[in-house]
């Protein structure tokens, strides 16, 4: 009973206290409230990205025994606004070899899809304001897969129009990467959709509150989705598209000033977006902890859900940033192998297991999980056995062992 009441409360898109003129549709079906919400969202994204960049630099600094930004503001917290100012005042260069139309257009095509995807995210309720979600689409899941994929077009445009071979290589890598990782991501999302029996993101969060968080019911799906989105947004260790040590920044090589800033903004907004999506789809959205409703603590989530959502999102952002400084970069063929040979099969396994859970119930599902784990263990063991140990072992020659002289080696004198 309480569950139903809660869901009615949280599904309410427009709070009742809102005056009518705010919600009346205007041009193109957009109401004034929608426009305000868009501006608020844009401001939120821009500010969150600034905080995120500062966070990343701090994380990087402390992981690398440094201190990160320190000078602008307390603990360097105003470093990002300072950087934005610097980027805005920087000269906007267009290389001679660049395409004059496509080159300036590309940065916006990279950022806008990321921003648009924020529209469907169910941020959760906060005291009086009702449930924060700008457009509670019924096809939200399809939308959030389709729109960010447009980002690839912007990156290809940037890479091609720069007239630089490094950026061309980078954009070729982007295409390969995006196409490969879109698939496991969608397969992982199928499981989520099956559990909730809906494509609406708000409904998915609601259903997780009833059934338990998806991260526990389909951990494989979460892993696949998280890794695939990390790769989609070109974050380390999947950052082959920008790979500074190889192709020195990929599609962004020739950009400067705020145009380059747009790419940077898009990259960090994508991190925020994907963390938010993972939170909504797998980590129970704005729920405080799994099963809190059963304990009668559902009202906390209903009142302050937004804060818990943000908290989970920031934890995911931190994990993504941590990975960047802990791992080396994959090579392009290994990246493809990872997508097609590991993530995709894993996604299918998750899909089948979820189907078993939905159709046959929990016991066959548990058996399926057991079988999967056993199979994975066998696979891992085979892989370990096939790895030739000799290449890892180093031979230390003993002190008395015969060693060749320079004449024996054929070196001069």
């Amino acid at each position: 009973m309480t569950n139903n009441a809660a869901s009615e409360l949280t599904l309410q898109a427009v709070p009742s206290w809102m005056p009518a003129f705010l919600v009346a549709p205007m041009i193109g079906g957009l109401s004034l409230a929608d426009l305000i919400a868009l501006v608020v969202l844009l401001l939120f994204v821009l500010n969150f990205v600034m905080i995120e960049i500062w966070m990343e630099r701090k994380v990087a600094g402390h992981i690398q025994l440094r201190r990160g930004p320190l000078h602008v503001g307390p603990h360097g917290s105003l470093q990002s606004p300072a950087d934005v100012l610097k980027l805005l005042t920087k000269e906007d260069l267009t290389p001679v070899a660049a395409d004059p139309i496509v080159f300036p257009m590309a940065p916006y095509l990279v950022f806008v899809p990321v921003f648009l995807t924020f529209l469907v995210i169910p941020w959760g309720p906060l005291v009086l304001f009702g449930n924060f979600v700008i457009r509670p689409f019924d096809l939200g899941l399809v939308y959030m897969v389709a729109i960010p994929a447009m980002q690839g077009i912007g990156l290809v445009m940037a890479g091609w129009s720069s007239g630089n071979k490094y950026s061309l290589l980078g954009s070729a890598r982007v295409v390969a990467q995006l196409i490969s990782y879109e698939l496991p991501m969608v397969i992982a999302l199928l499981g989520v959709a099956m559990m909730a029996e809906s494509l609406n993101l708000t409904t998915i969060v609601e259903s997780q509150m009833k059934q338990g968080w998806n991260v526990f019911l389909q951990p494989i799906g979460f892993l696949v989705f998280f890794l695939a989105t990390m790769s989609e947004m070109s974050r380390a260790p999947f950052d082959i598209a920008v790979a500074e040590s190889e192709i020195v920044g990929g599609p962004f090589v020739e950009y400067s000033g705020m145009r380059w800033g747009m790419f940077y903004l898009a990259e960090f907004a994508a991190v925020c977006l994907n963390s938010a999506l993972s939170t909504a789809l797998f980590l129970g959205g704005w729920e405080l902890f799994p099963g809190s409703r059963a304990l009668g603590l559902g009202w906390i989530s209903d009142q302050f859900g937004l804060l818990f959502f943000m908290g989970k999102m920031i934890v995911l952002v931190l994990i993504i940033q941590w990975a960047r400084f802990a791992l080396p970069r994959l090579r392009i063929d290994q990246l493809m192998d990872f997508a097609w040979k590991f993530l995709l099969p894993a996604g299918f396994v998750n899909f089948i297991l979820t189907a078993i859970l939905q159709v046959f119930g929990f016991v066959p599902f548990a058996i399926g999980i057991g079988l999967t784990l056993a199979f994975a263990a066998v696979l891992l063991a085979t892989y370990q056995a096939r790895r030739s140990p000799s290449t890892v072992a180093l031979i230390r020659t003993a002190a008395a062992a015969a060693v060749p002289t320079s004449q024996g080696v054929g070196l001069p004198v």
Binding site: G61, L65, L327, L380
Partner: protein, 163 residues
């Protein structure tokens, strides 16, 4: 998998350890007693004039040819020098801080000072003349070729003592 997790744990460990950064312009680095900064000319306090006798050995021994000097006849009679320097230039933009000029000086007239903050907007200001070299040499004592002082360890220079 184990290696990847190891990387994560190691970075977590270093995240929690104290940073090694020194905040340089605010926090001066500890300079060792033997630190070789810009070469400087030593001042003889006893007779209140420069020690150098313009023998030109430092200029000839300099691997970078960055020392130029001219001498004058010495007439004051306070010491038994024959010559004294009129001009003495060191192009610190070329100097490699090797310390050879100090090592070869037969009159102990120069020493490497701890002066190292040479940033400037104009290359020409790096050509130090006699007065500047004497200025950075104030308070510097001849150490090269002398035995290490016995007693407390020489240790680290107090950052407030160098310019």
């Amino acid at each position: 998998m184990r290696g990847v997790l190891g990387g994560f744990l190691q970075t977590l460990k270093s995240f929690l350890t104290k940073p090694v950064t020194r905040l340089y312009p605010y926090e001066k680095p500890p300079l060792e007693a033997r630190f070789m900064g810009a070469p400087s000319l030593l001042w003889d306090d006893a007779v209140d004039e420069v020690v150098c006798v313009a023998c030109n050995i430092c200029a000839r021994s300099c691997p970078d040819d960055c020392i130029t000097l001219t001498g004058d006849k010495y007439t004051d009679g306070k010491t038994n020098k024959k010559n004294i320097i009129k001009d003495y230039f060191i192009d610190l933009g070329r100097c490699s801080y090797c310390g050879i000029c100090v090592e070869v000086c037969p009159f102990d007239a120069n020493e490497m000072s701890p002066h190292f903050e040479l940033s400037t907007y104009d290359r020409m200001t790096l050509v130090y003349d006699k007065d500047q070299l004497i200025e950075i040499g104030r308070g510097v004592t001849r150490r090269t070729g002398k035995p290490e002082p016995v007693g407390p360890l020489p240790g680290i220079l107090d950052p407030s003592t160098y310019r």
